[in-house]
């Protein structure tokens, strides 16, 4: 008897400063790849823009980044924007964000299973296995695990071991190398899915901001609705790029103060 596919939700955390076509491509590529393994059914995608507390240089206010992401994803029938992380008073560790979303997904699943049980009197043989949540990211993300102070060891273990990663890269062997060079990542390599798009596409939010500062066109790199929003609000200028200049990223200050959190939080 064929195994039921595991329902899978993909969560992308990041600045989305601004969201670009390339971000949305990640979801498409990841979904196709996970389906093709035969083991998963991708049932949802979540874009979770980081809060202003992250302190990254050039980060424009969350309300704008959320609005732009919503505009961009208006036409998507499976990817949505979630504001929870951006609304937290302080920057939130990725592992904590994942726990929050996984909690919600699991609750929904348990409720629907309960409903099935109630209506048929016994659990339906066709009920699906419990859902999973994996972190969707680009290849550069794997290298952040090495940056001193940016990640707690326990969290790396949780994100890669308990949840799992879907990492999209643009050809080349950098992700394989990053996994190889880290004991934790290697240990969980079965839970790290490497997806390739075999074309070089270096479009990034950084480049989009650069082009906007210089009055160059970014049409066809981001959705028209996002472009319009940017012009209406005059986001992304030399001034906006100087925001947070000289400040330390919040993870680097937060994680040296606090004791290591356990999984029981």
């Amino acid at each position: 008897m064929a195994t039921r596919r595991v329902p899978l939700v993909l969560l992308a955390c990041g600045s989305f400063n601004p969201i670009t076509n390339q971000h949305m491509r990640l979801f498409e590529l990841a979904r196709d790849h996970m389906h093709s393994t035969g083991q998963y059914q991708v049932v949802g995608g979540i874009v979770s823009p980081v809060s202003d507390g992250y302190g990254k240089q050039g980060l424009v206010p969350a309300e704008h980044r959320i609005a732009m992401a919503k505009l961009a994803l208006q036409s998507s029938n499976w990817v949505t924007v979630d504001e929870w992380e951006s609304q937290q008073p302080d920057w939130t560790e990725t592992a904590v964000t994942m726990r929050y979303h996984y909690g919600r997904i699991l609750k929904e699943y348990e409720q629907s299973t309960r409903t099935n049980k109630d209506s048929s009197g016994s659990s339906s043989p066709l009920s699906s296995p419990p859902p999973q949540l994996k972190l969707l990211c680009g290849a550069d993300f794997l290298n952040t695990f090495k940056v001193p102070g940016l990640w707690l060891d326990d969290h790396v273990e949780e994100v890669t071991g308990r949840f799992g990663l879907v990492c999209v890269s643009r050809g080349g062997l950098e992700p394989e190398q990053a996994v190889h060079e880290s004991d934790t990542l290697s240990h969980h390599r079965q839970n790290i899915f490497l997806v390739k798009e075999w074309v070089r596409n270096e479009t990034s939010a950084t480049e989009v901001r650069r082009a906007l500062r210089r009055g160059m066109s970014v049409k066809y790199l981001i959705p028209d609705s996002v472009l319009e929003y940017i012009h209406q609000h005059n986001l992304y200028t030399e001034d906006s790029e100087r925001r947070n200049k000289g400040m330390l990223l919040r993870p680097l200050t937060k994680q040296t103060q606090q004791p290591v959190k356990t999984l029981d939080d």
């Binding site: 949305m24 075999w198 074309v199």
Partner: protein, 273 residues
């Protein structure tokens, strides 16, 4: 204001557009930014001219679809348009002819505007004289039509029997080329190594795409054959059109597999099998 007159430019892109992608559209945006940044030009229009079915390229689907997809892709652009003239010709048309055709149309449009204006009438007379001379002088009066292309097209000038030498001379000498670089090509070196191109280097504008974007129509067709998503590589309307009409399959890719490309056929007298 120094009162220096800015030359009006129309960009013409010939190609398969099989299908049109965001990368094609980006080329127009990059070219416009580059030319206007020099302070010498104002890009007033962009024309996409999909090649006719007579080109016989492998995997080339019907022109009517390619034209319609390009139209959908540029519907909301304020300056880029699609012209089906080339695609409607019964035989493949040399690029130089397409350029000439669009330039003549451009001139005619300008003349219609200028008819009542006596100051510009003298200019019109000069334009006509310049046009009938076989001059390769870079004219600053009147609108210019430049061919927009990727570096791969520039390098195709070197493929035997792909182009007539006099056509290349006409395109780069009389009209002008705007060439967007792709990774792996070095257009400056290629220009340097060709005496003819080097002679006309002033009318060959090389635009560096600092942010590599290699999303090619080939890649898109491959993804479609394999049932993969191409969303966000092309405008949504084009993705929808492709799905509705079930374009791009293993079968469509085999089209013209045994046929010789039209330019090669024409210039060597080779016949298709």
């Amino acid at each position: 204001m120094d009162g220096r007159e800015v030359t009006k430019v129309v960009l013409l892109a010939c190609g398969s557009f099989n299908p049109i992608t965001n990368m094609h559209l980006r080329m127009f945006e990059l070219a416009r930014d580059h030319l206007q940044d020099t302070g010498q030009y104002k890009v007033v229009k962009g024309i996409i001219s999909p090649v006719g079915d007579g080109y016989k390229k492998k995997g080339l689907i019907e022109a009517c679809h390619r034209v319609e997809m390009a139209r959908l892709a540029t519907e909301d652009s304020g300056w880029i348009t699609v012209d089906p003239w080339e695609s409607l010709q019964p035989e493949w048309v040399e690029t130089a002819k397409v350029v000439r055709h669009h330039y003549d149309r451009l001139l005619a449009a300008e003349q219609n505007e200028d008819d009542v204006d006596t100051v510009k009438y003298a200019k019109k007379r000069r334009l006509e004289e310049n046009h009938s001379e076989d001059s390769s002088h870079h004219r600053r009066d009147g609108p210019q039509l430049m061919l927009l292309c990727g570096a791969d097209v520039l390098e195709s000038f070197g493929i035997p029997d792909m182009w007539k030498q006099e056509d290349i001379a006409e395109i780069v000498g009389r009209y002008g080329l705007v060439c967007i670089t792709r990774s792996g090509n070095d257009p400056h070196k290629f220009i340097h190594q060709s005496d003819m191109l080097w002679k006309h280097r002033k009318t060959i504008h090389v635009v560096h795409e600092w942010v590599t974007n290699e999303i090619s129509a080939t890649h898109v067709r491959r993804a479609l054959r394999r049932g993969r998503s191409v969303r966000y590589l092309l405008p949504d309307d084009v993705v929808r059109y492709i799905q509705e009409h079930k374009l791009y399959s293993a079968e469509s890719e085999r089209k013209n597999a045994d046929v010789i490309l039209a330019p090669l056929q024409r210039y060597t007298g080779a016949s298709s099998s």
